[in-house]
Subunit: 140 residues, 2 copies
DNA sequence: CTGCTTGCAAAGGCTTTGCAGAACA
DNA sequence: TGTTCTGCAAAGCCTTTGCAAGCAG
């Protein structure tokens, strides 16, 4: 699902409402940053983008809000680096390149990727997601 | 590559030698634990397994040694959980199930998985690895 | 009023690092 | 004797949490 918006306050509130998220001031600010385009941001990056003009959102709130957004399905975590979590505003099915030299994360889609028929899942489990990460390094 | 051995000291030293790793006492102990079978262990687990009988390897050495083994290609990191790193003694091509409820990691192989032809890599990069993680939850 | 939200600071958990002593060739 | 390795303790980083103050309905 793509939930991007051009910083339109009403549109942001509408999206939050759709995900049953109480649209407080701070949450709208964080949503504005996250949803401005498809992107991958760390909590630290969200914090500084949100507070770029005037600082008014605390670090704790950024962390708590990002977790709330993940829980509600508005954004996704991407776990590729042991030192930090990335948050992805694009929740539709896609995969990632991760540049281990630069820490850059980028998307790809494959029409011909075919992970089905899946291997048999472990007993008494249901699938909750599939991550495909192609790790790359600078060739230079 | 599978580098497993039945706790045979000479075999362990031979494997370490093959990866150009100076076979100190501590490193042999850690290798013995890691290479006893294909498995996924956290640093904490390695620490307690190594020191199960008599404590003689420090936490710092476990961390440093696991990193050394990764660097030399003897084992692999598996990054699926933001709170800890798993180390995998099986470096041959395979993929992972991760149970988000229990933290259990298990392997699967797919004959019919076909990630080629790959998407075009980002500019000036070379591929260094492909991770496929199927996240599951308990169905009960 | 009453419950939800925020922010600060402190705590937590995993991992790395500095440095002195130990081991080994 | 010189290099490499180990271990302790401290530091570092990212993230979470406790709790009091703030805000909204």
């Amino acid at each position: 699902m793509l939930n991007h918006t051009n910083n339109n306050p009403a549109a942001i509130r509408e999206i939050l409402g759709r995900y049953v998220i109480n649209p407080t001031h701070q949450r709208c600010e964080i949503a504005r940053v996250m949803l401005s385009k498809p992107q991958h941001l760390s909590a630290e990056q969200v914090l500084s983008l949100v507070n770029a003009n005037s600082p008014h959102v605390s670090k704790a709130t950024v962390y708590n809000t990002l977790n709330l957004f993940v829980e509600k399905g508005l954004i996704r975590q991407v776990i590729v680096d042991p030192t930090k979590i990335f948050y992805d505003s694009n929740t539709s099915s896609h995969y990632h390149f991760y540049n281990e030299d630069t820490g850059e994360l980028s998307d790809f889609k494959l029409n011909d990727i075919n992970l089905t028929p899946f291997p048999t899942l472990p007993e008494n489990t249901v699938q909750s997601g599939v991550d495909v990460i192609v790790r790359v390094k600078n060739s230079g």
